[in-house]
C-alpha cells in the first residue's frame, strides 16, 4: 500500500527536478493557505450574520408573512430538478446517498442557523425532489411529458410568487427564477433566429444575421439597461414591472448566443438527412421540427446548459435596474452598520453558494454530454 503511494508521489510530484522544486514550493504554500482559511472559517468567522440575514439573502424584501410562496417555489424547483435528473441519471443507491447527505447537511445548517421549521421545510422539498427523480426514472414516461411538466412548474412558480408584486422579488430566489425564465425564453427565440439566418428569404436572413451580430457585439449590461429605459417610452400608459423588463433584456441578449449555438448544431446535421426528408415530400416545417432540430439540439444541449450558467452569473447585473438579486442582497446586509465588520463572512457565503450552483450546472452539462453521446451514431 505504502509503496503504491510512494510510487504515485514519485510519478506525479517528484518525477523530474523541476517537478520536485515546484512541489516543494507549491505544497507548503497550499497547505498553509488551506489551514489559514479553514481556521478562519471554523474559529474566527462570525456566521451568525449569515444565519440572521438568510431570509434577505434568499428572498430579498419579499414580505415575511408571504414566505410560504417562496417555500412553494423552492419545493417546485426541487421537484423540477428531480424530474430533470430522472431523465438522465439513474437513482442508484450511491447517487441517492449523496443527495440525502447534501440535503441533510443543508437542512442541518439551516436548523442551526435559522430554526427547525425552515429545516423541516428544506427536508420536505428535498424529499419531493427525490420522489420526482425516482418516479420519473421508473415511470419511463415520455420526455415530452416531463418537459411539459417542467414548463408547468415554471408557470406555477410565477403565478404563486406574483401576488405581492414583482417589485418585492429578491435574493437567490430572484436570481434562480430569472435564470430559469430567461433560459426558457431564449430557446424558441434563438431557434427562430438560427433558422432565420439560414432562410431562403433574403430579408429574413439579413434581419436575423443583423440582430445576432448586433447583440453579440454589445455588452449585456447595455442591452438590459436599454430595454429597461425604452419600454416605458414605447408604452407610456402601462407600467411594466422592472423584473419583466429585465427578463426581456436578458432574453433578447442571450437569444443571439443561443442562435449561434443552434446554428452550429444545424450545420452538424448531415446533408443526407435533409435529402431523405425532402425525398419523402416533407415540407420545411416538418423537416425542421421532426428531423433537423431534434438532431441539431441534441448536439448543442451541453452548450445550452453551459449558457444557463452564463445567464445565472450575468443575473448579478440586475442591480442596475434596481432589482435585488442574491449578490445585491448580500451587499444590502453589509450596508447595515451593525454588520459592517462581517464583509468576509457574507462574501465567502456568496462565493460558496455561487460555486455550488455553478458547479452543479457544469456537472449537469457534462452528464448530459455523456448521456447524449451514447444514443447518437
Amino acid at each position: 500500500m505504502s509503496t503504491v503511494a510512494l510510487r504515485w508521489l514519485h510519478r506525479n510530484l517528484f518525477a523530474k527536478p523541476f517537478d520536485t522544486a515546484l512541489s516543494l514550493v507549491v505544497i507548503p504554500v497550499l497547505a498553509w493557505a488551506v489551514y489559514a482559511f479553514a481556521h478562519w472559517i471554523l474559529v474566527d468567522a462570525h456566521w451568525e450574520v449569515v444565519g440572521g440575514s438568510l431570509k434577505v439573502l434568499m428572498t430579498g424584501i419579499y414580505p415575511a408573512d408571504q414566505l410560504w410562496r417562496a417555500w412553494f417555489s423552492v419545493a417546485t424547483l426541487c421537484a423540477m430538478f428531480g424530474a430533470g435528473l430522472g431523465l438522465s441519471v439513474r437513482p442508484g443507491r450511491a447517487a441517492l446517498a449523496v443527495a440525502a447527505m447534501v440535503a441533510a447537511a443543508i437542512a442541518g445548517t439551516i436548523a442551526a442557523a435559522v430554526g427547525v421549521s425552515a429545516s423541516l421545510l428544506t427536508i420536505a422539498s428535498a424529499a419531493l425532489g427525490v420522489v420526482a427523480w425516482v418516479a420519473v426514472h421508473h415511470s419511463k414516461c415520455d420526455q415530452r411529458v416531463v418537459l411539459a411538466g417542467l414548463l408547468a412548474g415554471v408557470v406555477a412558480i410565477f403565478v404563486v410568487l406574483s401576488p405581492p408584486g414583482f417589485e418585492v422579488w429578491g435574493g437567490l430566489l430572484l436570481s434562480v427564477v430569472l435564470t430559469i425564465a430567461v433560459s426558457i425564453l431564449t430557446l424558441p427565440f434563438g431557434i427562430l433566429l438560427a433558422l432565420g439566418r439560414q432562410s431562403r428569404i433574403a430579408s429574413v436572413r439579413v434581419i436575423s444575421t443583423a440582430y445576432i451580430e448586433t447583440m453579440r457585439s454589445v455588452p449585456l449590461i447595455l442591452v438590459v439597461y436599454w430595454i429597461w429605459i425604452i419600454v416605458p417610452l414605447l408604452s407610456p400608459d402601462t407600467s411594466v414591472p422592472s423584473l419583466l423588463r429585465g427578463m426581456a433584456g436578458y432574453a433578447l441578449f442571450f437569444a443571439a448566443y443561443v442562435a449561434e449555438y443552434v446554428r452550429s448544431g444545424l450545420q452538424a446535421v448531415p446533408k443526407g438527412q435533409i435529402e431523405a426528408a425532402r425525398s419523402l415530400a416533407m415540407n420545411s416545417w416538418t423537416l425542421n421540427v421532426d428531423i433537423v432540430l431534434p438532431q441539431a439540439l441534441r448536439v448543442v444541449v451541453p452548450s445550452l446548459v453551459g449558457q444557463v450558467l452564463d445567464i445565472f452569473n450575468g443575473a448579478t447585473l440586475v442591480f442596475i435596474i434596481g432589482l435585488t438579486d442574491f449578490l445585491r442582497a448580500g451587499q444590502m446586509i453589509l450596508a447595515d452598520p451593525q454588520n459592517s465588520g462581517r464583509t468576509y463572512e457574507i462574501y465567502v457565503f456568496l462565493f460558496a453558494v455561487y460555486l455550488a450552483i455553478g458547479g452543479a450546472i457544469t456537472y449537469a452539462s457534462r452528464r448530459l454530454e455523456a448521456h447524449l453521446a451514447r444514443g447518437s451514431r
Binding site: E275, A276, S279, L280, N283, T286, P294
Partner: protein, 264 residues
C-alpha cells in the same frame, strides 16, 4: 388524395417518367447532356456507367434533389420545375411529385434519433396525414415484409448496414410510391450484406414496382432489369435489354467499361 392530373405532355399513360433533351450542369461542369429516356410503368431500368458519369445525378433529378437547367422532365404526369422555376417557387409541384417517388440512398440516411418503426411511419403521418396508430401498423407490416419485424423498435445505430438499408426501403414504400429510385443502394454495404438488400429489391421488381436503379452489381442488373442504360460522360450511349447491353454491346466504350467491371 391526388388532385386532378392533367399531363401537359402527350406521353402514353404507360410512361411514368419522361425525360427529353435534359441538360444539367454544376457551374461550368456539364454533367448531363441531352438526356432522352422514358420509363414505363412497372419497368425496371438499371443505369450503369463509370463513377462521375452522371448516373446518380440523373436519378436525383427525377425527384428534384438536383435541379436541371433545360429540357423537359415529367414524373407521373407532373412537370418537374427547372432551376429557373425553383428560384421563384415550385415547392408545391415538387412536394406533389415527391409523394409518388421513393428514394433509397447509398448512405441509407435513416433518421438516427428515431426507431426503425418511427422512421417508416413519420412521413405517412406528417405528409399524408395518417393517424399515428394506423401509420405504425402499416410500418410494422412493411418492416415485416423486409424481414425486420423483430427490429422495429431499435435505433438505426443498433442495426447493421444491410438492416438499415432495408428499413430505408420500407420507409420509402410507406409513402406508397409509384416509382422507386435506388442510388447505389449496396455500395456502402459489407459484401455479406449485399444479398439481403438485393433480395428485397428483387421481390419489389417481381411485384411490379417501377424502379430506376443505379448500381455496380452487374449480375443483379442482368437478372432484374427490363432495360439497361449505359451512361458515359453525361450522355446516354446505349439503351437495351440486359442481353443486348451485356452480351452484344455496340459501342467500344461500353465494351471497355463492361470488360473492366465484369472481370472481377
Amino acid at each position: 388524395m391526388n388532385a386532378i392530373q392533367i399531363p401537359e405532355v402527350t406521353t402514353s399513360p404507360n410512361v411514368i417518367v419522361s425525360i427529353s433533351r435534359l441538360n444539367k450542369s454544376f457551374g461550368a461542369f456539364h454533367v448531363l447532356k441531352d438526356i432522352d429516356l422514358d420509363v414505363g410503368r412497372g419497368e425496371v431500368v438499371v443505369i450503369i456507367g463509370a463513377s462521375g458519369s452522371g448516373k446518380s445525378t440523373l436519378i436525383r433529378c427525377v425527384n428534384g434533389l438536383e435541379m436541371y437547367q433545360s429540357g423537359r422532365l415529367t414524373v407521373d404526369g407532373f412537370n418537374m420545375p427547372t432551376e429557373a422555376d425553383r428560384e421563384i417557387g415550385g415547392e408545391k409541384e415538387l412536394a406533389r411529385i415527391r409523394k409518388g417517388v421513393g428514394m433509397v440512398f447509398q448512405q441509407f440516411n435513416l433518421f438516427p434519433h428515431m426507431s426503425a418503426i418511427d422512421n417508416v411511419a413519420i412521413a405517412p403521418i406528417r405528409v399524408r396525414g395518417r393517424k399515428p396508430d394506423e401509420a405504425k401498423a402499416t410500418a410494422l407490416r412493411l418492416l415485416d415484409r423486409v424481414g425486420l419485424r423483430d427490429h422495429a423498435h431499435k435505433l438505426p445505430a443498433q442495426l447493421s448496414g444491410g438492416q438499415q438499408q432495408r428499413v430505408a426501403i420500407a420507409r420509402s414504400l410507406a409513402m406508397e410510391p409509384h416509382i422507386m429510385l435506388f442510388d447505389e443502394p449496396t455500395s456502402a454495404l459489407d459484401p455479406e450484406m449485399v444479398g439481403e438488400v438485393l433480395d428485397v429489391m428483387r421481390e419489389l421488381a417481381r411485384e411490379g414496382m417501377t424502379m430506376m436503379i443505379v448500381t455496380h452489381e452487374m449480375g443483379f442488373a442482368r437478372e432484374v432489369a427490363d432495360r439497361v442504360v449505359y451512361i458515359d460522360h453525361g450522355r446516354i450511349l446505349e439503351i437495351g435489354t440486359p442481353a443486348e447491353i451485356f452480351d452484344r454491346p455496340t459501342h467500344e466504350r461500353t465494351k471497355t467499361f463492361l470488360s473492366r467491371v465484369l472481370r472481377h
